[in-house]
Symmetry: C2
Subunit: 459 residues, 2 copies
């Protein structure tokens, strides 16, 4: 507490002249426009919308109404059934050598601990590789703790390798006989905000309870491990899989002047993790693609049809999410190029393209359109994302990625902190402007947009 | 989720060469020295240590052992009984017009809601003055929500007026008939971290359940209020007062060459709020004053004795905390100057002094000692803080405040985020250096250090 004692403060406050009751309270950052209004609306009127929940269903109804109101055609909800997961009560305490409550959250597809909590010794592994090197059976009855050192990168490239602690750590720990696993969150912040996210259970592995603690809690565990004393934990994670849940995509179109030409597909996802309100992951993506589609047609129809896909169950949909359902329903339709926005609301800084070699001139036009914005080109391939991955692979589509600045994305990703106040309206509009510049080129491209060979060794 | 699909990531990871199992995991910021070790030890080995709890008792034992090990004399635990408060289960959801979970925490001295939750309409007030202006009885059966706009200030001066929303809002709402109150946290961050802290119930006011939501949640409530729709809340706050709890101070001395001279008193507090681990509030203060006392005697005893007070129950001790108990036990002893460190671990930037006018030369020596560190002088008075307030008032003591940079203090204050990783070891050491420079002057002052008249209208 600061030096003002409450009593002194009460006395002092009595002398403060009252404000008008119409004076505003705190003023959140305010933006405007189609993208901002979508982020504001989804986070305020829907909030968390985890796949398979009634909230996700409300979000679909909200999306359908909003897309119709914005003038889109052929607006449709396309329901599907999906594998999902339901969070339960969760908490953890270190019980030895020191008593410390831990900020923890279950990973998606964790199975429940016993209702009274799992009380066990906890073994510290500094890396995923150290866990892999543990002798088989050595973790029997114990909880594995896996540490790592994910750091901020502009292109988000730390999430692949360090995110594997979350994706692969649980199944490796289970194979070694562990009763449960706790990991350092796949995140780059220093707040008491554990990062959730799905883990993966290969078919021959028995699922175990799996949770992530925040970085400050992982720091604490690392300090205690450094003292060489035995750690014990009392762990409660009651979340469980939810095998047949309702989800759905929302699709909408801005028809082009020549509907016979293969269309441009723009995707984002409507579902969000339950801890935050899904502002950066991925209401912003839906705001960006939708606003850009409209802006590209502001002065008249584009040559090609632009379709937007607000996908359902991206977050837990590795087996049967919205991207797969889109390909299942629309695999017979002709697509030219796929693009996806699912990396927050910070500025576009990098252009990635996978174009047919005959489309080099188109590539140069795209680069030129982004040149005034300072966007740099990447020499490797573009990959799209989970919502367009299946249709890209099935149709060997051309792909354009507009890479966003990821320096702070993993501060917020999959945490309670994924809220509206984290979206900078100026950066959000820069995204819309970059997408619009690209769309004006590709949706008006009269020439053939060729297929692109699948990457060697890719999915 | 980022573009890497979990399956692709699993495949990619299989190709990563394993690290040595001895490779370190994440490496927390590391410091060294007496102050750092106290902060590290208290946060790691004790953690949260709320007044009246068994954890606070363990902290006293830890403190006694540490102060003895550091070479202090007359190290003593001085137990007392205190009014405290116990947190219970707490959660809240907006139920209308939208369903949104809220990040909430109870304020100290809140009374419990009904166990099944309080379901009521919630009325938005943009300011404390607007709440005060509400007609008597107009809030009957309702929950009041009070917003405000506390902003970062270097000297922390926003905490007086905006902190009054927490200190005074609950009693004002109760007097208007409210069933409960929820406030925007008295904090300057944008994380889903509600800030706890004590509220004050004047004798004629009936206590009601009182909680604070995080700034992002308050932003959401403000946005919904702006839509003009009726809000309803389902509120559970089970915390309750705990009227006769054990607490205690820990005192220790570095005797001076002339023990007959009035001593120098340096204070911090040992208790912390339960949500974090009390790193900046106030393990850092204890680290700073203790390290500085030792450093001031590194080259031999100072003229005057230096006593350190690690106070119990500062956070909930407005009626009978550690500062009052210290004055009760030690009011018969002669003190020269009191100083307190309870504003985090950021750098000292400002010097405040309340000295007798005959001690102008001493004041100049103190200024000169801090001159090389760029510390600026404040023209008003110094006030000490809650742990030295009572003895200052009783003995009309001279006071020196070393004002710390408060730009980020209220980002963390009374939240789960008050953890070790927030302490910058370089800034912490700057504090120790500044305190040491001052102590070398004042603890070696041979002349009379005079009494200072109480401030007009002050406590």
């Amino acid at each position: 507490m600061l030096r003002t004692s409450p009593l002194a403060a009460l006395l002092a406050a009595a002398a403060i002249a009252p404000f008008s009751s119409t004076t505003a309270g705190a003023t959140p950052t305010e933006g405007s426009g189609v993208a901002w209004d979508i982020v504001e609306g989804l986070t305020t009127e829907i909030g968390p919308r985890m796949a398979g929940t009634e909230a996700e269903a409300r979000a679909r109804v909200w999306a359908e109404a909003r897309l119709k109101a914005l003038g889109f055609s052929n607006v449709k909800i396309e329901p599907f059934r999906t594998l999902a997961w339901q969070r339960g009560p969760e908490n953890a305490q270190l019980t030895a050598p020191y008593q410390q409550p831990l900020a923890i959250t279950a990973l998606g597809f964790s199975v429940p601990t016993p209702a009274g909590g799992l009380k066990a010794d906890m073994v510290y592994f500094p890396t995923l590789a150290a866990l892999e090197a543990a002798p088989d059976g050595s973790l029997k009855g114990k909880v594995a703790f896996v540490d790592h050192a994910m750091r901020r990168t502009q292109d988000g490239s730390g999430y692949g390798p360090y995110g594997n602690v979350r994706r692969m750590g649980p199944s490796i720990a289970s194979a070694k006989g562990a009763a449960a696993i706790v990991i350092r969150s796949a995140g780059t912040d220093s707040h008491r905000m554990p990062h959730t996210g799905s883990t993966v259970w290969p078919k021959d592995v028995k699922p175990i309870p799996a949770g992530a603690v925040s970085n400050p809690d992982a720091d604490l565990i690392a300090r205690i491990a450094g003292r060489g004393k035995t750690m014990s934990i009392d762990l409660t994670l009651m979340g469980k899989p939810f095998p047949d849940a309702p989800s759905g995509n929302v699709v909408a179109e801005l028809p082009g002047r020549d509907p016979s030409l293969p269309m441009i597909l723009l995707a984002c996802h409507l579902d969000s993790w339950d801890l935050g309100t899904g502002a950066i992951d991925d209401a912003s993506g839906c705001g960006i693609v939708t606003a850009a589609a409209l802006a590209a047609q502001k002065d008249g129809k584009t040559l090609r049809t632009i379709r937007v896909l607000w996908s359902g169950n991206e977050e837990m949909g590795m087996r049967n999410g919205g991207g797969d359902h889109y390909a299942f329903l629309h695999g017979g339709e002709k697509h030219a190029i796929a693009m996806e926005s699912d990396f927050g609301a910070d500025r576009v800084w990098q252009l990635k393209m996978s174009l047919n070699e005959d489309n080099a001139a188109l590539g140069e036009k795209i680069k030129a359109a982004l040149w005034p914005m300072g966007v740099v080109s990447y020499s490797g391939r573009a990959h799209g994302g989970a919502d367009v991955g299946k249709i890209i692979r099935e149709q060997n589509l051309a792909v354009i990625d507009l890479g966003q600045d990821g320096m702070h994305y993993f501060d917020l990703h999959h945490t309670p902190d994924d809220t509206m106040d984290k979206v900078d309206p100026v950066a959000l509009q820069q995204n819309v402007d970059a997408w619009t510049a690209v769309l004006k080129v590709i949706a008006n491209e009269p020439g053939d947009i060729g297929k692109v060979a699948a990457e060697e060794g890719g999915e």
